[in-house]
Assembly symmetry: C2
Homo-oligomer: 456 residues x 2
């Protein structure tokens, strides 16, 4: 054992410095199996003081560190691809407090999203962020990546709900911003800066989150629409009726057909339409009737299936997309999480197929997403290994042509490093690099992630 | 004219470098008359390129600069107290676009809040931030200060609605983050970092803001309550009924009595209560009936006056507080904008009077505020000039005892510099100072504002 690992073992206890390959296997590969790295050790501190001591020791030794929560990221941001030490936050798993008056949750960074949701639910409140990986994803992870999800259209970004953080800087100093109030206007928004910084500025050890109030009455509608413009008109009609959007998902004919075929589902509409909209809407007890009435005011709407409450049956058409896509592609699907300004989504979706078809004859795009946020999950099936980067490049370039973002909610990680110049200008990248250097002068925190240099 | 002023005149035109005392008088004193400074010139660039060129010239000359919008701040943050040059953004007054599909507004930093509200209203949308100084306050100013206001309980902070900014750094480089999407997860949230930075990191020249959808149907209630806990129970009852809070204001018996006496208003309740709550609530067309029903479920509620829609009559009891307080104090009232965790507001308000009374026999505190955000505006009347700092100190110390914030929405500016140590830890201040140095190494932007050193 190296002197550094001996020092770390003295801090966290020998049982929490894992070095055997079989013990670290789960921490050096991501869940998709696409990203695999290697490490000399996975270190598992138990509290903020231990995290700080571990970082201070690594800082003295010049040892790069990758912070890791539930390891459920989609862009390779938590994998030690260059042999970094892994600092696991999973033992920071204490829910400290739910304050029902202030509607806040204080918890360790290693608490899972599901555990936090459960703790909030016991007080009739919601975490506000939900995602499929909820049983593994951690609060530290969703804050460090500013995770999105279906509920963002109602509750905003994860960042907008971060009231405070405790975090250890690269040299082991501890930053504590811990005022449980949305109104705390004293200098720079460091919690917001750390949110989405992908482990490059500090290791988040505790989080103080604002909770939200769940809707009382909801209704779900799945409607065929002739265009994205009609989908947006439907959004407007819902707002005009005094109702609230809980979720607003766009499906395409190609995706819906594939799901129906693969899952053996009845096609929901009597006539095919180029798009379908799945919306969940909340309001007073009569929400379903009000929604039905609002639907009649929208031109371009084909069949619409409407059910009271959260309809698992209607949601299934949307939720089975991921699994269906994985099972339908001859190669691992290229999965790109982008966003396009709402007024350009129609054009983007219309251009995407022909554009890819010209250059990649076997490629089949299946898109779906959170259309009221502009977020589109572009999945490209049947792409050969040597075409993957070129496909990504083509999609990202098209996104930029319409003024969109090459990362809507998944972050940059390792996967999108080379395209960061498509999303941020040189002056912007230089400012971000200066901030990173200010907080981590030695460049030890997740050094290969979110790189601001680019050859573009 | 100095060589620097000649250079600046060449950039913006001689007519826009103001040096005569009578021309700069309005820019060197704040609207309260409390803060007065002096300057060699007020420079008024017309666009981002001119702002950048002005800053580059000042940078070469080592000339400190105070950015100034509508000069409506409450903490002396836009006044050249140490003879800085004033960079006025008032000519950056173009509304570039309102996108009703994407629900965004793009505009110059010098556009007034009122003009932006009007532009949004033409598309049936709202800016989301509203404040009494709307005719003078600018978009650049509300972003630079992360301005709050009554609507924050529904629409969140100004920061949460900033999608993009264009800003000139201290050396004249221009940072452009301009993707009109809430989902744009590429690196650090620089727009959020500049929001609330009080002109110390960059001069914001253009803003890209998310607009919000106004409520269709509202009702207003003014209710006497026996405690803050009852006020919060009222908030919960409104949420349980599926209604949305548009505003939630707390008044005290002392404030309400003073307002009724001074304004010649009928006292709204048949029996006195220690507190009153003014709430505006939205929902379906039947919102008033649903609210009336919800009120019956809350214990501790005395008389309640309920009106449909936005009731100017009921709001008058709240809105005339500021004017009444100004007219009722024998000295300029000490006005402190603080926030206290919701569960401690009762105790804080109960302790405040006796605490001040012990040390400052003539002092009369009148509090009101946005109680669902924890925000309390503490006004202390009849304080002598030499007691002002000690009164502030006592209030801030009490705020911290309950874990609150010494600046809820007004910022630090010059006024609260000496208390910043009560709001931010040494490690936090060091991190903020490092970021400031990273973006403005020469320390030329608003150097005397938001100082992270403190003698506490």
């Amino acid at each position: 054992m190296s002197p550094l690992l001996e020092e770390l073992a003295a801090i966290v206890g020998p049982a929490h410095v894992l070095t055997a390959p079989e013990l670290v296997a789960g921490q050096v590969t991501d869940w998709t199996g696409y990203w695999t790295g290697h490490t000399t050790a996975v270190v598992r501190p138990a509290d903020t003081a231990q995290v700080a001591a571990v970082l201070a020791a690594c800082h003295r030794a010049g040892q790069p560190v990758v912070p890791q929560g539930g390891n459920t990221g989609l862009v390779g941001g938590s994998i030690p691809l260059e042999g970094e030490l892994v600092l696991s936050t999973l033992r920071l798993n204490r829910i400290e407090q739910v304050d029902p008056l202030g509607r806040t949750l204080a918890a360790g960074a290693g608490v899972t999203v599901a555990a936090a949701q459960q703790a909030a639910a016991e007080h009739g409140l919601l975490l506000g962020t939900d995602l499929a990986s909820r049983d593994s994803a951690t609060l530290g992870g969703i804050v460090a990546t500013n995770a999105g999800g279906v509920a963002m259209v109602k509750y905003g970004s994860t960042r907008s709900r971060v009231l405070g953080v405790e975090a250890a800087l690269a040299d082991g100093r501890v930053l504590t911003r811990w005022i449980p109030l949305v109104k705390d206007n004293i200098g720079y928004d460091l919690p917001g800066l750390l949110t989405g910084s992908e482990g490059t500025l500090a290791v988040i050890t505790r989080v103080l989150l604002r909770l939200v109030v769940p809707a009382r009455h909801t209704a779900t509608v799945l409607a065929g629409v002739d265009s994205v413009v009609t989908a947006l008109a439907l959004r407007d009609a819902v707002n005009r009726a005094g109702l609230t959007l809980e979720a607003a998902e766009l499906l395409t004919a190609a995706g819906l057909d594939l799901v129906c075929t693969r899952q053996g589902l009845r096609h929901p509409f009597s006539e095919p339409t180029p798009y379908a909209v799945l919306m969940e809407v909340s309001g007073p007890a009569e929400v379903a009737e009000i929604l039905a009435e609002a639907l009649t005011s929208v031109d371009g709407l084909a069949d619409a299936a409407l059910e009271e409450g959260h309809s698992a049956r209607l949601w299934h058409y949307r939720e089975s997309h991921t699994e269906t896509i994985a099972a339908s592609s001859s190669t691992p699907a290229v999965k790109l999480d982008v966003a396009v300004p709402l007024g350009h989504q129609e054009e983007f979706l219309g251009r995407l197929g022909p554009l890819l078809g010209e250059r990649f004859p076997t490629a089949r795009p299946i898109c779906f997403g959170h259309f009221a946020d502009g977020n589109i999950h572009v999945n490209v099936l049947d792409v050969s290994a040597d075409e993957r980067d070129a496909v990504s490049d083509a999609v990202f370039t098209l996104v930029r042509r319409y003024g969109g973002s090459i990362s809507a909610e998944h972050g940059i990680g390792r996967a999108k490093n080379r395209w960061i110049g498509l999303g941020r200008s040189p002056a912007d990248r230089a400012a971000m690099a200066a901030i990173r250097t200010a907080l981590d002068p030695a460049g030890l925190l997740n050094p290969a992630v979110l790189r601001f240099d680019t050859d573009r």
